[in-house]
């Protein structure tokens, strides 16, 4: 039996839980007072729905520092945004430069383009533990000539290690190379200013750090970026035309929107604006420090990620020597109701960079709601599992 009181949810990097009460309230309010289809009809409930979605778009634009809400495209997740941006900006016959810490939401579209013979792929090695990447190597790869696209994650979803994304984006911009940023783990977790970043596209889920429900995502597209949509269809606008509108956001948002999800996401973004994303970052850093300190010098426990908690983003991966990570994760859930994610986290490349492929790691990831006591319980549970293993090994040995 699951209980919200006793559960220790440490899988916020997969999806955040719980959501702020305001998110649930906004969804209920949507169905009570709106509920019509967004942008489709002129009647009151349709307009009420459109108003709420538009306000959510504005809230997100403000949170991300976009110049206008038209740069905020609603998607069903980060993956859809990444596919839209990558496939749209892919240099036919050219090169794509990326890092060794990418999630499969980036790697699979890239490998698809490579296999189809549409682009060649160049992977610049980044350190899975620290997020460090040789910027000269990154620049050299971009500068190698020909039509090029750069794609990089802001933070590793395995260790939380932050990459020097601003510097990487500025290097790409200096060479006139468009860049796609995967902000899946960073959005809502540390301040992000898309204009200052200067990337062509920034994709993020709505259901992780932005605290919205699943089925939501955001793609920031810079005003000068004009790429084809992933799908085409009804938008409620230019109904007399049988061709796709050429203006954002309608160009990229065909079919009925996930209005209730977007409204919930808007409430999550508003919550973050009120709390302050810098405060969230400070909080996550504090929790990471407590967890890492708790595991310092623990026998039989390997901790991955940057030594400096501020160089990561609310994620710590660990392994208990001699026990498969999936077993550790099961022990944690069965014995202590601690929920983690074991395995490769959809990021085989990142695990290879970390030296943890093919087994993977147990990943702990905090959220705005995680408290110190929960961190302490997790530390004690992990130490206990490792101690039991050492004891058993001793008996056997």
């Amino acid at each position: 039996m699951s209980s919200a009181e006793t559960d220790i949810y440490m899988d916020n990097a997969a999806t955040s839980w719980p959501k702020p009460p305001a998110v649930l309230e906004a969804i209920q309010e949507f169905f009570a007072n709106a509920g019509g289809n967004v942008g489709r009809s002129g009647h009151s409930r349709s307009i009420e729905s459109s108003r709420r979605v538009s306000l959510a778009r504005e809230t997100l634009a403000d949170l991300l520092g976009a110049e206008t809400p038209d740069e905020v495209i609603f998607t069903k997740n980060a993956t859809e945004g990444l596919n839209l941006a990558i496939l749209g900006l892919a240099p036919e016959g050219g090169r794509i430069v990326t890092t060794s810490l990418e999630h499969n939401s980036v790697m699979r579209p890239l490998r698809h383009l490579e296999e189809a013979g549409r682009c060649t792929l160049e992977i610049v090695r980044a350190d899975g533990n620290t997020g460090e990447i040789d910027l000269e190597e990154w620049s050299a790869a971009i500068r190698r000539g020909g039509w090029c696209l750069a794609v990089a994650t802001h933070a590793s979803n395995v260790t939380g290690a932050l990459l020097p994304i601003e510097a990487m984006a500025h290097r790409a911009a200096a060479e006139g190379v468009p860049m796609v940023v995967d902000a899946s783990q960073s959005a809502g977790h540390l301040p992000l200013d898309v204009v200052a970043l200067g990337a062509s596209a920034v994709a993020m889920p709505g259901h992780k750090g932005l605290l919205g429900p699943s089925g939501t995502g955001v793609l920031y597209l810079a005003p000068h970026v004009d790429v084809p949509p992933l799908i085409r269809g009804g938008t409620g606008s230019q109904s007399e035309l049988e061709t796709q509108p050429d203006f954002a956001p309608d160009k990229y948002e065909s079919g009925t929107l996930n209005a209730m999800g977007i409204v919930g996401l808007g409430a999550g973004a508003r919550y973050l604006s009120e709390v302050g994303v810098d405060a969230v970052y400070a909080r996550l850093t504090e929790l990471t420090r407590r967890f890492r300190d708790g595991l310092a010098q623990a026998e039989g426990i390997v901790v991955y990620g940057p030594d400096d908690p501020a160089a990561s983003i609310g994620i710590v991966s660990v392994n208990v020597e001699g026990i498969p990570c999936a077993t550790v994760s099961r022990f944690l859930d069965d014995e202590s109701r601690i929920m983690t994610r074991a395995g490769l986290h959809c990021s085989p490349a990142a695990h290879r960079s970390l030296g943890t492929a093919p087994e993977g790691t147990v990943r702990f990831s905090w959220g705005f709601d995680t408290i110190e006591e929960e961190i302490d319980v997790a530390v004690a549970a992990l130490r206990n599992i490792a101690a039991r293993r050492a004891e058993a090994a001793g008996v056997v040995g």
Partner: protein, 92 residues
């Protein structure tokens, strides 16, 4: 309320945003089903008082809201939105 003008939009998203911008600028405005004579582009338009036209235009432009056109349009709430008619061919 006598509405003397309407703004037409390509996307309803922009109409919603325009409504908020005008509200924040304290310019009376309301969303109305887009009169067919004005624009078939999206379902809704924003009605405003014609005497506010310069301020409406300035507010929308300063907030970078994309609109199709501003029309002189007679729309009277008392008679219902269906009574609206284009007075002249002039657009702002």
């Amino acid at each position: 309320m006598k509405w003397g003008g309407v703004v037409s939009f390509f996307a309803s998203e922009h109409a919603m945003r325009a409504e908020r911008v005008l509200e924040r600028a304290e310019l009376p405005a309301r969303l109305v089903p887009g009169p067919r004579e004005v624009s078939p582009n999206c379902g809704v338009a924003v009605a405003f008082r014609w005497e506010d036209e310069p301020k409406v235009e300035e507010a929308l432009q300063s907030k970078k809201i994309r609109y199709e056109a501003i029309h002189r349009f007679d729309l009277d709430d008392e008679e219902g939105a269906g009574s609206g008619r284009v007075l002249t061919g002039e657009t702002a």
